[in-house]
Symmetry: C3
Subunit: 274 residues, 3 copies
Amino acid sequence: MESKEVSAFLEAVRERAPLIHNITNTVVSNFNANGLLALGASPVMANAVEEAADMALNSDALVLNIGTLEASQVEAMHLAGKAANEKGIPVVLDPVGAGATSYRTQTVHELLKDIKISILRGNAAEIAAVAGLQSQIKGVDSAVDNKDTVRIALEAFQALQVPVAVTGPKDAITDGDTIYTVENGHSMLTRITGSGCLSSAIIAAFLTVSPNTLEGAAAALGFYGVSAERAEGYASMQGPGTFQVELLNALYHVGEMEMKQQINIYKEVRTEGE
Amino acid sequence: MESKEVSAFLEAVRERAPLIHNITNTVVSNFNANGLLALGASPVMANAVEEAADMALNSDALVLNIGTLEASQVEAMHLAGKAANEKGIPVVLDPVGAGATSYRTQTVHELLKDIKISILRGNAAEIAAVAGLQSQIKGVDSAVDNKDTVRIALEAFQALQVPVAVTGPKDAITDGDTIYTVENGHSMLTRITGSGCLSSAIIAAFLTVSPNTLEGAAAALGFYGVSAERAEGYASMQGPGTFQVELLNALYHVGEMEMKQQINIYKEVRTEGE
Amino acid sequence: MESKEVSAFLEAVRERAPLIHNITNTVVSNFNANGLLALGASPVMANAVEEAADMALNSDALVLNIGTLEASQVEAMHLAGKAANEKGIPVVLDPVGAGATSYRTQTVHELLKDIKISILRGNAAEIAAVAGLQSQIKGVDSAVDNKDTVRIALEAFQALQVPVAVTGPKDAITDGDTIYTVENGHSMLTRITGSGCLSSAIIAAFLTVSPNTLEGAAAALGFYGVSAERAEGYASMQGPGTFQVELLNALYHVGEMEMKQQINIYKEVRTEGE
């Protein structure tokens, strides 16, 4: 994928400032709102069953994140998800900590059953858990060594029949036929909480301007990865506190030039019989 | 309004460290607690119906913020509000996202009906929505272009009969007779989440030391605006991550000298027939 | 206590990345997750009754923090606490704001009755309130002048028969027989929210690698205090915004050398009749 296309999506997000409705966890709500604002999108967090559907109907995309799920929030996710489907806006599902408890895994399955999800975004362990693949998860933030993200993405698509983005050192995005891989980012992302959650929110923002889901998701992850690289460049080993600050700065500043120099997005179309 | 008066309020807040009870949204609770601590006030967040009234009775001011409202939190707001009224402490109401869903707008109306609010603080779109004026709201954080904050504040007071502060590029505070306008602040405030919410919390802190509501609110917004200007001076275009950090630093450091040099608060008393 | 022992615990935490299950308040959940990640531990926040026990059973330690308690969260604390006891993992209880409302004080008493707590960590006012000692509390974040932390810790142990850590300018940790005091830290810790809560979470992380509760808690507080000193060294009076960033950086970077130079942990064993 050309950096020009990614830049075009980015400019479109900044120009339109799409309203992204997040039903998300209390750990990352501040950071994700700030990340979306830094990017140029317009975040709104609204978890209550009384308004979840209304808010989704007013929004340009919906993010469902189960990081601190509880019963009434899950109910709100179903209401908002159905409203989003009705309106035809993108829905990103982030299965934070799936596999860590059966409550999380089951909740994801129910959401996948009830709502048309544009893309399921998680780390290798989370996606493997949702898809019933062999893997291990530890907590919700820890880095997963599994580097075989392409295989996990493909197997998860086979099992779930929903577009999947597996993020890690190499991100893999697939709908079974086409596979995008993104080789951007920085390991410091694993030392701040909510960096995965924020990638889901940024995918949602890009999906509002992209005609194609995989392309939009790949562009979002490429942009996010380049932003992380810039952030660590500025933070230069000062630590995760500074990295987090610089990541917000980068989301605000990264533009065409950095993307041209740094972005690495590859596309592969599978042929019959693969 | 003279910078000396604002400085006197600020010093009083720092000396007394008033306890500010916040029933607020999960997105900004950390940032607002840190903002109040940086200023020198003492924040407490307590949303549970079991303790909302008790906490309000132990506090020096109460902030009600509907940013992530849900049924039990709204109930806690009513309980805390009545306790605050009973004790005679100031109550600031922040109608975050009013107009975005009917649940938000109705909740604000019920709070206004049930509780004596010292001041209603919101952006132009939120205040217009609460007052039933013609306007548009998009999300909860987005900047509103409407610069006619004075007119909106006056019309909202007419409709609601409660003191109003409309914040924006020019803040307007009125009780129908007197109008304060504050021309301080920085546009970077619109690129971090919770900056409006924090202004409400800081107003609450100033109201604990000011004998006059409008004066206290105007002083708070002037101080806050000067702090934002200092913050962007130090952040010097590095981005919203750095700006947020510097805003907390500024709330801690801004004193008499900066206020003397920068503060712009104007007072107008309306005469009969206007 | 020798800095070498503290460094050994720190290295063990960084190597094993223990999973710390936090049932904590919405104000500090992001900061505490980031603090644990910076240290090298693996945080998970999970408050729902549906999964609290499951998550505790998958974890290496549990933190119960009542900062924004409400009924269902308290129920989850009981479920997780019992599961943790069953599994035999450490449980740290942080009685945030105890004494401020009777709901908080009672909740702590019920948790102490129902669950075997490894250590109760609070500031002087909170611990005094829980133990029924004479003291005053104001809010949840404010510094308490009371410097007689050793006496409060001993009296609280007498009253509660649970190991106690009272943090303040001088931290005191005791099980009635042995008393550790820690003279590290920085007053800027009182100007950011969640710094006390984070000390509880870091104690939990150290307890997963220490064979002895008091020793582990003292080491954790020594490490944390040294980190705060380094943070303010780097922040050099810029303010609480920068201090918070630098504290996360310090938790990531502080190692053997800084501990050797700065750590001040003293151990006293009480003899009969004292």
